[in-house]
């Protein structure tokens, strides 16, 4: 395993400057920054961003995308996240579903979904977790039964982000019964219309009172054969292989950055207190170093490598870092938290305290990532 320091090319720097200019125009000076990719669902913003060519960057032009490199995507994503831009509508489709369709989708599926994803108009959720399946994803019970022309799906998915606003979700389900000792076999992915008959979406209120997560109940939902993603029986390999590399992007370490920036705003100037200066310095230094790690993975992906262990390390260290930042800022601020009052810094800090426990859970818990990474370290 080796991370190598990498340099951004002049073209990549130019892209960064363009995104910065765009954000300066689009986001009003008093906008409340979103914390992380799931912070705000704003279809208008997603469409405007897409019009600039910054959604669907991984998708080839023949499917309406832009065929850009992993590093270009990295640059755009980090600028959006650092600014707290509202990217929640398109982000999952862009990061996860688009690449999955490219890898595993049929030609027909690609033509059907990818142009809409690249236009910032078609939004996907992920249908992985269930009431009894969290980290042990292979234990999912949602079941698809073969019927004429397709499958009928029954089961319950939970923690489904934005299912009440999005259009589709990729459901991991069992298409043949679990066999003793082969629990990773018999799983498949189906693309399910969130508005289909038999689909019931109900909110799971989040800790800060927001409606982001949902329970999605599927009751004899008909899914036509042409909505099977990839091979029947290969669902486990599909959700765990290529997509593992998506773990290491800027969304894994930048989600609480706007809180630090607002802290700096409150302490700006030459008369900064020693303890505040130490917090600013410590986290700026680590942001800088973790960014190098994450960027190094993007560069390795562009070079055709498969940095799975590196990606797991970035997510593990990055998400814990996001939480450490919040607690260090709380200690330095010596305040009492209230979501509704106070300065922008204080309100963001309150939101971050309430929401940041999720970052070490979603997309693979810290414990699972450690296990993945440790196996790679030993080999």
């Amino acid at each position: 395993m080796q991370f190598s320091a990498t340099t951004l090319s002049p073209a990549e720097e130019k892209l960064r400057a363009e995104v910065r200019d765009f954000l300066a125009e689009q986001l009003p000076p008093d906008h409340r920054p979103a914390l992380g990719f799931a912070g705000r669902h704003d279809p208008a913003f997603s469409r405007t961003l897409a019009a600039r060519g910054w959604v669907g960057m991984a998708i080839p032009p023949e499917y309406g995308g832009h065929g850009r490199s992993a590093v270009d995507r990295f640059v755009v994503a980090e600028e959006l996240l650092a600014a707290g831009a509202p990217i929640g509508a398109h982000f999952v489709a862009d990061r996860q579903t688009g690449p999955a369709l490219l890898h595993y989708g049929t030609e027909e599926q690609r033509r059907r979904f990818l142009p809409g994803i690249a236009a910032g108009e078609v939004y996907f959720s992920l249908g992985m977790s269930e009431p009894d399946s969290g980290s042990d994803l292979a234990s999912v019970r949602t079941r698809a039964t073969k019927v004429d022309g397709g499958w009928t799906v029954t089961g319950t998915k939970v923690w489904t982000s934005e299912a009440h606003r999005n259009h589709w979700f990729a459901v991991l389900c069992r298409t043949s019964p679990m066999e003793e000792g082969r629990k990773h076999a018999g799983l498949s992915q189906l693309i399910v219309d969130l508005h289909a008959e038999g689909v019931t979406v109900s909110p799971i209120p989040f800790l800060d009172g927001s409606h982001h997560f949902n329970e999605v109940a599927l009751e004899d939902v008909f899914v036509p054969d042409d909505m099977v993603l990839g091979e029947i029986g290969s669902g486990w390999q599909q959700v765990t292989s290529e997509l593992a590399y998506e773990r290491s992007g800027p969304d894994r370490w930048l989600s609480t950055f706007p809180v630090l920036r607002e802290f700096v705003r409150e302490h700006a100037g030459p008369a900064v207190r020693d303890d505040a200066a130490a917090v600013i310095g410590r986290f700026a230094a680590r942001f800088w170093a973790i960014r190098q790690m994450s960027l190094s993975v993007a560069r390795a992906l562009d070079a055709g490598q498969a940095p799975a262990v590196e990606a797991a390390l970035v997510k593990e260290v990055g998400t814990r870092f996001e939480q450490d930042l919040v607690e260090a800022l709380r200690v330095a601020a010596e305040t009492e938290l209230d979501q509704g009052t106070g300065t922008l810094f204080q309100r963001l800090l309150a939101e971050a305290v309430l929401t940041s426990p999720k970052v070490t859970l979603q997309g693979g818990t810290t414990e699972i990532l450690r296990s993945v990474a440790a196996k790679g370290l030993g080999s």
Partner: protein, 364 residues
């Protein structure tokens, strides 16, 4: 020289240095050197190959190369816990002397660690300079032949190549038994050709940045070795009928160590790679802060994963962790650099923060 050539040369440099250290700086050699704080044999071999003065121009008597070469070399030295003042040579002391056109000495050179209360003043004048100074915890101070330092005389800053033989030496050690000696000169006459005005940009801060970068590089090398040792040991050591690396609680330590070692290595690569030719304030402050924290976190996790064997003086781990515990405080602890960095960032204001963080390698 193209970037690729530079990379190839650097790889060759580290390969040759690794070969020398593998032969002459075994864990047994490091233990043996603790009595004197020094390995004569190793220093002789490194000197014969020109390693001490990597990054000092050949025209000035050095071996050529750049700051990144020197840091790559120091990472190798850190990995082997080399008991010699390599970081005090080319990257810091050699740079200081060469910048003022002074000669590089025969024998080891060192530099002050820039500790609070250190003073060095010149009196007399050209041709008759005299030095009065007190420097604390100078790395290999008593072992050096000369100390490259900055001294003020008549309101001007000078670079001085001060003779150690004329100093009063009070020995001290860091936690790894590396000499950290107090040196005092009382109105000592200086020979011709050992004092020259300090050029613009050659000042306490510039020296401190180089000193801190050197320590960061040593730390990164030691951490890479700590990570390897811990993976190896936990893969071999069996308890409850299986290698302890199979236990999730132990895996958590392995992951932490790998992360910190990689962060430290990248931080040094970027900070050294951006030196053109001088290392930048943000890069070095961030690199020393990150490596200092990494040293703390990884040393703790590696000892926990090793159990009692890691606490024996003969075992390699302790040679590395005692250095990590020392180097993290030398040339500014993580808290010192965090504060320095934070002050600068607060002064620049919130809108400059992200542009600064996202400026990485090659983007200064």
């Amino acid at each position: 020289m193209s970037a690729t050539d530079a990379g190839t040369d650097r790889a060759m440099l580290t390969e040759v240095a690794t070969g020398i250290l593998r032969d002459l700086c075994t864990p047994e050699d490091v233990v043996a050197a603790e009595a004197t704080g020094w390995s004569d044999r190793l220093w002789g071999a490194l000197e014969a190959s020109g390693f001490p003065y990597v990054s000092v121009p050949e025209a000035a008597g050095g071996s050529g190369g750049d700051v990144a070469d020197a840091c790559a070399l120091l990472a190798v030295a850190g990995r082997f816990a080399a008991p010699v003042p390599l970081a005090e040579a080319g990257l810091t002391g050699g740079w200081l002397l060469a910048s003022a056109g002074l000669e590089l000495p025969d024998g080891p050179l060192t530099v002050p660690a820039g500790r609070p209360g250190d003073v060095a003043a010149l009196s007399g004048g050209p041709g008759a300079w005299r030095l009065t100074g007190r420097l604390t915890r100078v790395p290999w101070g008593g072992r050096s032949t000369r100390v490259a330092l900055l001294a003020t005389g008549g309101g001007t800053s000078y670079v001085v190549s001060a003779p150690t033989a004329a100093a009063r030496v009070t020995p001290g050690r860091n936690l790894a038994a590396e000499p950290r000696d107090d040196l005092a000169w009382d109105d000592v006459p200086l020979a011709a050709g050992t004092v020259a005005p300090a050029p613009a940009g050659v000042d306490d801060l510039a020296l401190r940045l180089r000193g801190a970068l050197g320590r960061a590089a040593l730390i990164s090398g030691a951490l890479a070795r700590v990570a390897e040792l811990t993976v190896r040991y936990t893969g071999e050591r069996e308890q409850f009928g299986r290698p302890i690396a199979r236990f999730q609680a132990v895996q958590a330590h392995l992951v932490t160590i790998a992360e910190e070692a990689q962060l430290a290595g990248l931080a040094v690569q970027v900070a050294a790679g951006n030196a053109r030719p001088e290392p930048g304030f943000f890069d070095v402050a961030a690199a020393k802060a990150v490596t200092g924290e990494a040293a703390t976190v990884a040393a703790r996790a590696s000892h926990q994963a090793h159990g009692a064997i890691g606490m024996t003086k003969e075992y390699e781990l302790g040679q590395l962790t005692r250095r990590l515990w020392s180097w993290r405080d030398e040339f500014g602890s993580e808290r010192y650099w965090n504060r320095q960095l934070g002050r600068r960032l607060a002064a620049d204001g919130p809108d400059r923060l992200w542009p600064r963080i996202s400026t990485g390698l090659g983007e200064t």
